[in-house]
């Protein structure tokens, strides 16, 4: 039932907007809201960007096609949401064990100014070994975010520093590069792990 819902939600853009508004309208009155809601990430095959992974390899959306994929946007100077999400992802991967061994797991920085390849390498090294860190020129990061319909914004902080507001959802794609679903921040693990299983399973169905 749930699954059917998501599939249809993808098929009809108008329906997607309506669904998201229906789910979110009651909490859409906070500061910063609302932005154009309901935009669904493109299929990976329709995205176009060039980044560098934390080991210095050139990567792009095509790198991800052929395996199920989990993508999260963040930045390494983020003290709360990003380490929490990366440790959640690490926990999900541990729960899934071998099931998730063939999965791409990518953390894309929205702060390439501070998140160099070296910074990404050090940072992702503290989390699950499957997690790859991608960075690159600001315009390429912007193109990546655009493809995923993720948003981010630099916000000045006290003392001359800055922080980043950013989309904190985790995106799940099947092996063909089609969006399966998203895991929202704060979603309990009992919902997250079955969603990942669904992305893995659609992979199997896609192959047959």
């Amino acid at each position: 039932m749930q699954r059917r819902h998501v599939v249809q939600y993808g098929a009809a853009g108008v329906g997607a907007v309506a669904l998201m508004l229906g789910v979110g309208w009651w909490r859409a009155d906070g500061p910063g809201a609302p932005k154009p809601a309901g935009q669904r990430p493109l299929p990976l095959s329709a995205m176009d960007f060039r980044l560098t992974d934390h080991e210095g390899n050139e990567v792009g959306p095509e790198t991800l096609i052929g395996r199920p994929t989990m993508v999260f946007f963040g930045f390494t100077y983020c003290p709360d949401v990003c380490p929490t999400t990366l440790s959640d992802i690490s926990g999900w991967l541990e729960d899934l064990g071998d099931e998730a061994a063939q999965m791409n797991v990518v953390f894309i920085t929205v702060d390439p100014e501070r998140d160099t390849v070296e910074a990404m390498a050090e940072y992702v090294g503290y989390f699950h070994p499957a997690i790859r860190g991608w960075t690159g020129p600001a315009n390429q990061v912007a193109r990546a975010a655009e493809g995923f319909r993720a948003s981010y914004e630099r916000v000045p902080a006290e003392g001359g520093d800055y922080t980043m507001n950013h989309t904190a959802s985790v995106f799940l794609f099947d092996a063909k590069g089609e969006l399966v679903t998203m895991i929202d921040y704060h979603e309990p693990r009992e919902f997250a792990v079955p969603k990942i299983r669904r992305a893995l399973k659609e992979d199997v169905e896609g192959v047959t």
């Binding site: 979110g24 809201a33 940072y123």
Partner: protein, 155 residues
Amino acid sequence: MNKLPYINGLTLVLLLSAMSAPAFAGSEDVVVENAWSRASIGVNRPGAAYMTVHNTGEDTVTLTGLTTPLAVMPQIHETKTNADGVSSMAPADEITIEPGQSVALEPGGLHAMLMKLQNPMIEGETFPLTLTFSDGGEVTVEVPILGIAARGPES
């Protein structure tokens, strides 16, 4: 005498001197539990600490700020995630805790934001963090530093 459970063990002399000293309206009954934080990479990135602040007394208390030798600019922050899934972080308003109630500083919500670290936060060490209250009282807690990928006080 409603503070009787908290003066167990005090001598009459101490009790009398306490009564003549400036009395804090409530913050002496604040108990901080399950404090934890994550290790940092160097000192350039801000740190965050989490805990539960429990008001065991009979007066409402208001948490107004933080101090610590670890960071030049410690501040209570709140992360909010909007309907579009975009997370942002900003200094929190004053936090009022009713008698018998607790406020949780936890990932994705309120946190003690530790800006301008003086020293790196090293896994296995601890640091003192002082919570200041509107009645002038202070509560200091030793915060354990866990790994960067820690998920909570027990991990």
